[in-house]
């Protein structure tokens, strides 16, 4: 850190903060804090200094269990009303529209049955979704990794017919929950064409573990991927992906994702060719119960 202490970026950031912060309202803010602290009731039990989802007490687990049950029921309902494959909202709406004529009386109770908006989510994200059987096979693979390596496996990346994985000597923290992700590069040759999958990778990893996979034969790929859970369903990620070959592509991005929702994270147009990167992230927490395992 020493060499960074006075580098130009550090100096610039510190100068920015010094100029951005007001310096004269300490007393006003102090008074507000003290007044609010005096008005609020004292807590009955000591506040937790660093809440961690996996360290919550029974109450939170019960709440999580109830939420999981609701999710499982919702997912089961979705399965029952679809063909068994997870669909993005756009496709669900299309199916719902098809059902309108058959069950008009139920439409009032289904607020999500709306005409597809022109600016709605792109339908091509459906190409990235994992079917329930495929997802179950992936989670089975994760169980087998756990069985073989315990908490020592860090990540596994599957790209075409190549697999790369990392196993460490030391156990990973039990707080580092397993996650599955699919990164797909979609392409089409013109605005009238359908998107097709140009390249796809499947990743099993854990929270806060850096995935660094390199595949050098054929179309070379380099992947760096890192995920952190903001809450039960919201994740922040950082992704660097380089695909070399006839159509080389380089992606470097970070952002926030909702688990289970395929999200377009990158797009580029080269002449008539259009490329899109779509990322789907799934948390094991949301599919932990036997009933819900097949449904996410």
């Amino acid at each position: 850190m020493t060499k960074r202490e006075n580098d130009s970026l550090t100096c610039l950031l510190r100068r920015w903060l010094d100029e951005a912060l007001p310096s004269d309202d300490d007393q006003v803010q102090l008074e507000r804090v003290l007044r609010r602290a005096a008005e609020l009731p004292q807590p009955q039990s000591p506040a937790r200094s660093r809440p961690s989802r996996r360290k919550y007490g029974a109450t939170v687990w019960l709440s999580a269990g109830a939420a999981a049950t609701v999710l499982a029921l919702l997912a089961a309902w979705m399965l029952k009303t679809s063909s068994g494959t997870i669909q993005p909202p756009a496709l669900r709406r299309e199916h719902a529209e098809r059902r309108e004529d058959q069950t008009p009386a139920r439409n009032d109770r289904r607020p999500d049955v709306q005409p597809l908006r022109p600016d709605g989510p792109p339908a091509d994200t459906a190409l990235v979704q994992l079917g329930s059987d495929e997802l179950r096979r992936r989670w089975d693979l994760l169980d087998q990794l756990d069985e073989l390596f315990g908490k020592r496996w860090v990540w596994m990346v599957e790209c075409g017919d190549r697999v790369d994985m990392k196993v460490t000597c030391n156990s990973i923290s039990p707080d580092s929950a397993p996650l599955a992700a699919r990164l797909a590069i979609l392409t089409r040759q013109g605005p009238d064409q359908e998107f097709r999958v140009h390249d796809k990778s499947f990743i099993l990893t854990r929270e806060q573990q850096l995935v660094e996979a390199v595949f050098e034969d054929g179309a070379a790929r380099k992947l760096s991927f890192w995920v952190y859970a903001i809450d039960e369903s919201l994740y922040t990620y950082d992704l660097d992906f380089v695909l070399e070959g006839e159509q080389s592509l380089s992606i470097s991005t970070s952002g926030v994702l909702v688990a289970g929702r395929a999200t377009q994270i990158f797009s580029i147009r080269r002449g008539q060719h259009e490329y899109r990167a779509v990322l789907l992230l799934m948390s094991r927490l949301r599919t932990a119960s036997p009933n819900s395992k097949r449904t996410l």
């Binding site: 850190m1 960074r4 130009s8 970026l9 550090t10 610039l12 950031l13 510190r14 100068r15 920015w16 903060l17 100029e19 951005a20 912060l21 007001p22 300490d26 803010q29 102090l30 507000r32 804090v33 003290l34 609010r36 602290a37 609020l40 004292q42 807590p43 000591p46 506040a47 937790r48 200094s49 660093r50 809440p51 961690s52 923290s173 707080d175 806060q208 850096l210 890192w226 952190y228 903001i230 809450d231 919201l234 922040t236 990620y237 950082d238 991005t253 970070s254 952002g255 926030v256 994270i265 990158f266």
Partner: protein, 190 residues
């Protein structure tokens, strides 16, 4: 202020112990006054908005004031305050992020956008706009790594303790954040 004169020589931990023993409002005032600037330097670069920063700073300090009995002295008061501040900030950001936020990922587009905004050019606040936008493009954890190490002066080991992750993760976050910031602010760097 009289409180500062009386208690100014005491450490934060000593102030907490004295406050818990006496519940003397002046001691609490000294403790909060002493840490107000630090909390503000943690909060503002994370939320990047003065109105939100004021609310979050207050929330943090109220939580600290009300939660002093939970301070178990296993870590320093500074680290505990950091926990409370970051938890409050993350909760706030998670709430705010549930709504749509434009262009979370596209650094280059937003940097170009910020640099060409007429109000920024006219008012001479291009640097403020550029840094604000560059920081806002970082994922919260990456931004926090920069906030801790650059603005708070914490070491990666301290950040790892506060953030509840490994030191390697902290180093990686700092590296990623600095890489993105250098790219976004390249026109401002020598």
């Amino acid at each position: 202020m009289p409180a500062t004169k009386w208690f100014g020589h005491m450490t934060d931990e000593e102030l907490v112990a004295a406050y818990l023993a006496s519940e003397d409002r002046e001691i609490l005032e000294t403790l909060i006054r002493r840490n107000l600037g630090r909390v503000r330097r943690l909060v503002y670069p994370m939320v990047l908005n003065h109105a939100d920063a004021d609310d979050v700073v207050q929330e943090v300090l109220v939580r600290v004031a009300l939660g002093l009995r939970a301070f178990r002295r296993e870590a320093s008061f500074s680290t505990w305050l950091g926990h409370v501040a970051m938890n409050t900030i993350y909760q706030f950001l998670a709430r705010r992020n549930r709504g749509p936020r434009p262009g979370l990922c596209d650094l280059r587009r937003l940097q170009a956008h910020a640099a060409t905004q007429p109000e920024n050019i006219v008012t001479g606040k291009e640097l403020d706009a550029a840094v604000t936008r560059a920081l806002s493009m970082l994922a919260p954890k990456l931004r926090a790594a920069i906030v801790w190490t650059t603005f708070d002066g914490a070491s990666p080991a301290e950040v790892a303790e506060i953030e509840g992750c490994t030191r390697a993760t902290v180093y990686w976050r700092i590296h990623q954040a600095r890489k993105a910031l250098k790219q976004a602010l390249r026109d401002w760097l020598c």
